[in-house]
């Protein structure tokens, strides 16, 4: 039982990271119907930004309190990736808006390749280990919960609340939902569609940056290829939950995290990704629009 709960905690932590990335996929998909393949690399970029900020802090001020350091890392990583995604959307995706469906997908794949290789070229191809930032572990009823896990789950919960509020209760969120439903009509009603889409990209990137920082803190290492696997899993999570649905993305992320940790705990760790992808395939075969996605009505 304790072992099981322990795995639940681990899964929840992992799932929070996936969920944060998945929101970026799902929002962009919701608003312009595009699979932003480069989103995983934005996450990786966020992790790298946090790493570099951490090294700067270390070098300049020596012993900064870790809470403050983490806060600064998250904020700068968010700004940094937000700027990146803003520029990327403007240069690579906006010219293709409204054209051929596969064109933006290919551009996004190209962007993903370019981004990871950009980091490889500028930061080097080797693993970047950092000393453990947070190392306290608490023992609660026989289950060991580390402070990093608590931080990850808490930060995710706080961000999701803020985020949920923005989407549901602010004019910006209203503009986003309107653009999602009918871009042309939204434009006619005076919504600056371009700006709304840009902001959506920036918001998605900011969440991915938080996930990147958390990932760096949790695993203590990052490398330029780290965008791919978490990216694909987060995308899987978004699809599993029902792409376009925000709660779906979080739910999907948590599910993938749990599947992974439970599978590794009870079966074999080698096939954990096979399990994840198989469950995705099975869910989609029986519920083709994901768990919380609106079923697509075939209009005749």
């Amino acid at each position: 039982m304790e072992y099981f709960v322990q795995q639940l905690v681990n899964g929840l932590t992992l799932g929070s990271i996936y969920g944060l990335i998945a929101i970026g996929y799902t929002m962009v998909y919701g608003i312009i119907g595009m699979v932003n393949f480069a989103h995983g690399d934005i996450f990786m970029l966020g992790g790298f930004a946090a790493l570099i900020v951490y090294l700067i802090l270390l070098g300049m001020f020596g012993g900064v309190p870790i809470a403050l350091a983490l806060f600064i890392m998250i904020i700068i990583a968010m700004l940094m990736t937000g700027l990146w995604n803003w520029v990327i959307e403007k240069l690579a995706y906006r010219p293709l808006r409204g054209s051929f469906r596969l064109a933006p997908l290919i551009t996004a794949i190209g962007m993903s390749i370019a981004l990871s290789n950009f980091v490889q070229v500028t930061q080097g191809p080797r693993n970047k280990p950092v000393p453990p930032l947070v190392s306290s572990v608490y023992d609660i009823f026989g289950i060991s919960i580390s402070l990093k896990q608590i931080i990850i789950v808490l930060v995710t919960a706080v961000l999701l609340t803020i985020f949920w509020y923005i989407v549901n209760h602010t004019p910006l969120g209203r503009a986003q939902r309107a653009t999602e439903q009918d871009r042309k009509m939204a434009a006619l009603l005076g919504i600056d569609v371009d700006k709304t889409i840009s902001i959506t990209f920036v918001m998605g990137a900011a969440l991915a940056a938080v996930a990147g920082t958390m990932y760096l803190m949790y695993y203590g290492v990052i490398v330029f290829t780290d965008g791919f696997t978490p990216g694909v899993k987060a995308f899987t999570a978004a699809v599993l939950g029902g792409i376009g649905s925000l709660p779906g993305a979080v739910l999907g992320g948590l599910m993938i995290g749990l599947i992974e940790s439970l599978w590794s705990a009870y079966f074999t760790i080698d096939y954990k990704d096979v399990a994840t992808f198989s469950i995705l395939a099975i869910v989609l075969i029986f519920k083709p629009s994901g768990i919380l996605g609106r079923p697509e009505v075939e209009k005749v």
Binding site: V35, I113, V121, G124, A281
Partner: protein, 463 residues
């Protein structure tokens, strides 16, 4: 007159002011983008701790490039484009007769391919030609074959498949395993690999084909990853990440062998000096023949009811069903046919490398193949072949750019930039030509004259 020139001056002054302003903003943005990633580099010191290396000079170069680029774009390039567009709109469109090269492009390309190995041998000698025939020729032909296979699924049937590399892997491992365990010959295994891949295509396709659009895309991606992960983890059979090596070479229909020790070794039989170039040249022609076969089958299939049904499926699935077409079997045949091409390409890949490992079948390969199909223009064999040549050959050329070391210093490794440039090229080509190199479609039947269909009418499918 004076008035007009004055307004011109004002306009150009305004333009310059704007260009300068925009250049300034671009500089700011570039500074923001690159300050952490270019300005600083994380490096390990002797204690294996990460330290930062400062590179402000490089950062300044990046920012300067962004500023100058933006300035030139706003001040000169954009007005030039607009002027050209206006001139084009003003001038009546003159139908230009296609030149000799354009009209006979396929034939000329084929001739060029046939004489390519002897020309390379003549230029660089047997040993020197190896690189050109193998790295460029054979590699590009493998990608052409793969892309033509994927073209059936994506370009014709309009089904987005992000896990195509799975079938490539099935083909490669079929050959590798069956030839090492059972000792079957290449010529027997080539069709078997195709059939096995097609069977896998059907098995994987069956449950997922009622999914649409991006759901289909992610499930195919998942299947691609599953197959790769199984290849990595099922070590008893596949030897995991070590891969399978020492795969038997192909022979010339069993008559001449390329094994050095064999009695009927090609070089021995003809009394030639020993060289691995003969084998590569043989493989080149073999790849070429397989490509021609694939092209022939594709062209033929497009004129068959099944091919037309594929294209109709891409255009409108509901209309297809209203006309009595079983869309499930139609999709499955597209999937299986595409998979078969992938499988054949895979077994060819295994025989060429003599070694297969799961590393060759990562998602990036699927992405590259898909990119070639879309960049080439979906459905167009010629466009796809051109795209494969440009993208694969182009990035391969970067390996050869040793002279760049003399410009950027000895530490400069052009190879490192290969995939970066590949990714950027994908973006640039897509933004420049969203429909790919060849956007138009050749009709499969005609009453009076064959007119190509402009890309603006064809759809890309939702499946």
């Amino acid at each position: 007159m004076a008035n007009i020139s004055q307004t011109n001056v004002v306009v150009s002054n305004n333009l310059m002011a704007r260009a300068l302003r925009e250049a300034f903003y671009a500089g700011l943005v570039a500074l923001g983008l690159f300050v952490l990633f270019v300005g600083l580099k994380t490096d390990q010191n002797i204690l294996n701790e990460l330290v930062l290396v400062q590179r402000w000079g490089l950062l300044a170069i990046f920012v300067a490039i962004a500023m100058v680029g933006r300035f030139l774009t706003v001040a000169y390039i954009r007005p030039w484009f607009e002027a050209r567009k206006a001139a084009k709109a003003a001038a009546p469109t003159v139908e230009r007769e296609a030149g000799f090269v354009a009209r006979n492009f396929s034939l000329l390309a084929l001739i060029a391919l046939v004489i390519y190995p002897p020309v390379m041998v003549a230029l660089f000698g047997f040993q020197g030609s190896l690189k050109w025939v193998d790295n460029f020729g054979i590699q590009i032909l493998i990608y052409v074959m793969l892309a033509w296979g994927l073209n059936i699924v994506v370009g014709l049937a309009g089904l987005l498949d992000l896990g195509y590399v799975a079938f490539y892997a099935v083909g490669a491992y079929s050959y590798a395993l069956l030839s090492s365990y059972l000792g079957l010959s290449f010529w027997l295994l080539l069709p078997i690999a195709g059939v096995l891949a097609a069977a896998w295509g059907t098995i994987l396709g069956f449950p997922v084909l009622r999914l649409k659009g991006d759901y289909l895309a992610i499930v195919t991606l998942a299947f691609g990853e599953i197959i790769r992960l199984v290849l990595i983890n099922w070590t008893e059979v596949t030897k995991g990440t070590f891969g399978i090596s020492g795969i038997a070479k192909a022979s010339v229909f069993g008559i001449w062998s390329f094994d050095v020790s064999a009695a009927n070794n090609f070089a021995k039989v003809f009394g030639l000096p020993m060289s691995s170039a003969y084998y590569k040249i043989f493989l080149f022609y073999l790849a070429l023949a397989l490509c021609m076969l694939a092209a022939f089958v594709t062209i033929r299939l497009r004129r068959m009811p099944i091919g037309r049904a594929w294209e109709a499926l891409r255009e409108d699935e509901i209309a297809c069903r209203s006309l009595g077409i079983n869309t499930v079997t139609t999709k499955l045949t597209a999937f299986a046919t595409g998979a078969m091409f992938g499988g054949i390409a895979g077994s060819f890949f295994a025989v060429r490398q003599g070694f297969v490992s799961p590393e060759s079948f990562v998602f990036l390969e699927s992405a590259i193949i898909l990119a070639i199909v879309v960049l080439g223009g979906m459905g167009s064999l010629v466009g796809i072949a051109v795209a494969a040549t440009v993208m694969i050959g182009g990035t391969e050329l970067l390996r050869e750019m040793d002279f760049l070391k003399q410009i950027f210093g000895p530490e400069f490794t052009p190879e490192l930039y290969r995939m970066l440039i590949f990714g950027l090229a994908m973006i640039v080509v897509m933004v420049w030509k969203p429909r790919g190199f060849v956007g138009s479609r050749e009709p499969t039947a005609f009453l009076r004259e064959r007119k190509s269909v402009s890309g603006s009418f064809t759809k890309e499918g939702h499946g």
